[in-house]
């Protein structure tokens, strides 16, 4: 059901854990739907110097978190914000349809962490970050819209 690449990232995920000196933290998803991603960023001079994640969820949720951290580490903020769920899926060699929402969650987790960074800098995030959904609210969560009935 999963590609070798997904299984690689699931078995040995990159950048797992917390970042004590993170200056941008984002959390999306909710436990009711079965997946929560928390992303920790250390941003310096406009560059993602370090990144960690913690994920509660299925194999795909863990793999998308892992690859997303790899794709943004060492990159400018703009690149992190440009990370799309499609790229995440492509880099993993594909995801089952029912698991595509995990890639969206990974994209949203990065955006949520960058938004938090901007807020801490006293900058209005919406000036830079487009379409960060409030993933923590149950109604907004993507799993409810795609076949999963979370009510």
């Amino acid at each position: 059901m999963y590609t070798d690449k997904v299984m690689e990232h699931f078995a040995n995920p990159s950048n797992v854990g917390e970042l004590p000196d993170a200056n941008g933290i984002g959390e999306v998803g909710n436990a009711k739907c079965g997946d929560i991603m928390k992303m920790y960023l250390k941003i310096e001079g406009g560059i993602i110097q370090d990144v960690r994640f913690k994920t509660f969820g299925c194999g795909a949720a863990i793999a998308t978190s892992s690859i997303a951290t790899e794709l943004i580490k060492g990159k400018p903020i703009e690149d992190a914000l440009a990370l799309s769920n499609k790229t995440v899926v492509k880099e993993l060699g594909g995801l089952p349809d029912a698991k595509l929402h995990c890639s969206v969650l990974a994209e949203q987790a990065v955006k949520a962490a960058v938004s938090d960074y901007y807020k801490r800098q006293g900058i209005e995030p919406s000036l830079f970050v487009i379409a960060v959904k409030d993933g923590t609210s149950h109604e907004e969560h993507i799993c409810c819209g795609e076949g999963g009935n979370c009510s």
Partner: protein, 387 residues
């Protein structure tokens, strides 16, 4: 710690390994004896006789006359057929989807409470509130949490209820049970238990996939399910799965033999697993500890998700399953665990362990060695877990 270089298989509620005796019995029928049982020549008639023998074996296991056994292609088909003629049904919240997705008309769902067992009083009340009920269907053993339902008591209640129905000039209420998970694991006697309809499946008891049976008590008015060439006395058409049916006969005979002896072995293994797994922090057993199959357990681990747990176990060649519907592509956790009143986040992190007579102590050792570090690893990764 070694494991015999093969999968540690702890998913016998999903399906089982075909037994050696079954394989031996079916071989002639998947090779040389390929005749159609409806044909008049010897190869056909030989296969007809083989089916007759299997029907006797299945009937003996359930304590009914062979004429009350109809072979089908699966437990699901048997369940669908049993529901086919009913319009006012009482069932439980945590039936298999082969019941819940197939039931028609007005349906009353009985609660199963946090121990996962239907209460006979609830059924009595539901019957009084719905006196026109024409079918009660309650599974003998739940497929996810393995709790045993009070089938004999339900059968007795419905038998009494039908006396009242007769006095009141109302139609009779039938009692169906999905015994797919029960047969071979607990004794089933359709006469003593007042069962009218009962579904079973061969591959759950070391037979072949693709064959099931429905017991239909004589006098029950159940219309044919599949129309065609008149097989199964006109009630279930289609050329018979001769090999599967022959294997079913052998498998069920083996499965109901020495149930108590087999269960005495299984319960020792189950207790070892239970005692060890419960040492893990914030874990709960789903379903009653006592009224359950001797070889099955279902746990929820706080802070982790079931599919991730299964994938990690699979990386160690351990085959188990989860109540998490994530594995089947849906994002909703198991309806069974939700029916027990578990919150979604706990229901997402469940693990079903189901053994069979093939399960060895070495397999249990191996599983118990690998489970705790896997749970710990996933919890370390989890943002919702705090020590």
């Amino acid at each position: 710690m070694s494991k015999a270089n093969k999968t540690v298989y702890l998913d016998n509620a999903a399906t089982t390994k075909m037994s050696g005796a079954v394989l031996k019995a079916v071989m002639p029928y998947i090779t040389e004896s390929y005749g159609n049982p409806s044909s008049i020549y010897e190869m056909g008639q030989r296969n007809r006789r083989a089916i007759t023998k299997a029907r006797e074996q299945v009937a003996a296991a359930l304590n009914c006359p062979p004429a009350e056994i109809y072979f089908t292609a699966s437990g699901t088909e048997s369940n669908n057929w049993a529901l086919h003629n009913s319009r006012r049904v009482i069932t439980s919240e945590f039936e298999h989807h082969a019941i819940l997705h197939a039931v028609k008309g007005d349906v009353t769902l009985l609660p199963v409470y946090d121990n996962g067992i239907v209460k006979v009083e609830d059924l009595e009340k539901a019957l009084e509130e719905n006196p026109d009920t024409d079918l009660v269907t309650v599974m003998a053993v739940n497929n996810e949490i393995a709790t045993i339902q009070p089938i004999a008591e339900i059968g007795a209640l419905i038998a009494d209820w039908n006396k009242k129905n007769a006095e009141a000039g109302r139609g009779q209420c039938l009692f169906h049970t999905d015994a797919v998970q029960a047969i071979g694991n607990i004794p089933i006697d359709v006469q003593a238990m007042n069962i009218d309809l009962l579904s079973i499946s061969a591959h759950k008891l070391h037979g072949m996939k693709g064959v099931g049976a429905l017991y239909v008590r004589k006098g029950v008015n159940l219309p044919p399910f599949i129309l065609g060439g008149g097989q199964e006395r006109g009630f279930r058409a289609g050329t018979e799965n001769v090999a599967g049916i022959v294997g079913f006969g052998v498998a069920i005979e083996e499965a109901v033999r020495d149930i108590e002896k087999k269960n005495a072995e299984l319960i020792k293994k189950r207790e070892r697993i239970y005692n060890d797994v419960m040492k893990i922090k914030r874990v709960r057993l789903n379903g009653d500890l006592e009224k359950r199959l001797c070889g099955s357990l279902n746990f929820s681990f706080e802070g982790i998700e079931g599919e991730a747990l299964l994938l990690q176990l699979n990386m160690k060649d351990i085959a188990a399953s989860s109540g998490s519907a994530c594995t089947s592509g849906s994002l909703e956790p198991s309806h069974v665990l939700l029916a027990l009143g578990l919150p979604h986040e706990i229901a997402h992190g469940s693990l079903r362990i189901s053994m069979s007579r093939n399960t060895t102590d070495e397999e249990i050792d191996y599983f118990l060695e690998h489970l705790p570090p896997i749970v710990e690893k996933l919890r370390e990764m989890s943002p919702v877990w705090e020590d």
